[in-house]
Symmetry: C2
Subunit: 260 residues, 2 copies
């Protein structure tokens, strides 16, 4: 793809990181289009381009329009902007390609990563899953994705949804278990720092071997005495007690099935 | 403590790693006492000492007896062995000190870590939580623990139980979420490797900041459209579907409470 003029919709975490990656790869970023005045201005200054709130005055001189927005905003943007034959790309894990079916050239670049503005991300290592509506769009999208990352794969909408689902377990739910462990310690005036060597080892083990094969602890041992003691300790929080029971039961079921 | 002759009960993961740590610190390990012929022999060969199965022929020449066994075996050992005034130490997170109340000198060294025989652990960095029944036992146990690790803390039985409970969330439950994400990918012929950059970033973020403050994903955004789509995708597994709903609800509750 010769021309590298782009407009980015969105001013959140994905827009922020993908925008910086485009800038590093010498794309000419014309505009950031957002809803929030503050974060749109900040990102446009960072990317050294103009900013625009809403659907009027969108710069239509770009070759590529990146929709790094909330899932629910993608269809709304399609309804409100005349993209003609420009290449339009969204970055969502769970929105299927046909959200764009009224357009001519379109596709998806889904980055399988969790982004926060405060943290640097090496985009070259982020797996990017791409999909497109025709051969020309695919050629262009592959070329763009390969400039951003060394880890580009094809994925249709179904595969992408499954990846997104697995990411919710691996990232959000994993983090929630850590958040509860932190809350339990805070409630007893204990430092979360104590858990850090354990957390690091748990993760290194899971990544080197396989989380399915390395489970330890009371549930996988079917140690109901310890489980009951822990439930007693959680007597002041019905919520955590239920979660403890539920996840323990799920572990017991997973491994009793495997042993049969 | 002048004399460093010890006998280790147990031949599992904790006995294996704590035994190796004692050996590195020039303790004279007299015997490994176990239930499983095979693993007891292997560990005794590794520690260059005799092995013994059951309660006959236990070497009573040691100064220190380490009970690195299943929780349920601790009381059984106390009932079956005459320890006299020897120092007896267990390594369990959830067994209170009074399991030893019929003895004279005793305590606990609880290593807050997950151990597997296949993996090296730097014991110097493992937090060891100690408790003892009298001043002399405490002096001896502190001296032993400080030889094994640079990270020694006092913890009574209640504090230790809370640490163990939080460790179940941080280690076993975290690993279970990863195991399900792996299973979801396997079920769809996708590689778990795709998730590794995401998992590493999730963990680094949680450890640098605080898991309570960095939650992302559909649940914390209250994005019921994505949640419902994921539940549909999990239609072939009622078990995972329930877990997905349950953990999502728990995240929604945690953060709606915080925002009030």
């Amino acid at each position: 793809m010769q021309n590298k003029k782009i407009v980015i919709f969105g001013s959140g975490n994905v827009a922020f990181h993908i925008g910086k990656a485009f800038l590093r790869n010498d794309y000419s970023i014309l505009q950031v289009v957002g809803r929030s005045e503050k974060s749109t201005t900040i990102l446009s200054e960072l990317l050294n381009c103009s900013s625009n709130i809403g659907y009027n005055n969108i710069n239509m001189d770009a070759d590529i329009y990146i929709l790094a927005v909330n899932d629910s905003s993608i269809a709304e943007i399609v309804d409100n902007v005349s993209f003609g034959d420009k290449l339009v790309i969204h970055t969502s894990g769970s929105i299927t390609l046909d959200v764009f079916k009224s357009l001519k050239n379109y596709g998806v670049i889904y980055p399988l990563q969790t982004f926060s503005k405060q943290r640097e991300i090496d985009m070259k290592k982020v797996p990017l899953f791409v999909e497109a509506n025709n051969e020309q769009s695919m050629r262009n999208i592959l070329s763009i994705a390969k400039q951003l990352s060394n880890n580009v794969e094809l994925a249709d909408s179904e595969k992408r949804k499954t990846l997104h689902l697995s990411a919710v377990f691996a990232c959000n739910f994993t983090n929630h278990m850590l958040a509860i462990s932190e809350q339990v310690l805070i409630n007893h005036n204990l430092k979360f720092d104590y858990l850090k060597p354990l957390i690091i080892e748990t993760l290194e083990k899971a990544l080197q071997q396989s989380p399915l094969n390395i489970q330890t602890g009371p549930a996988v041992r079917n140690d109901h005495i310890t489980i009951d003691r822990h439930l007693e300790l959680l007597a002041d929080s019905e919520e955590y007690q239920k979660l403890y029971s539920f996840v323990s039961e799920s572990i017991i079921k997973m491994y009793s099935k495997q042993n049969k």
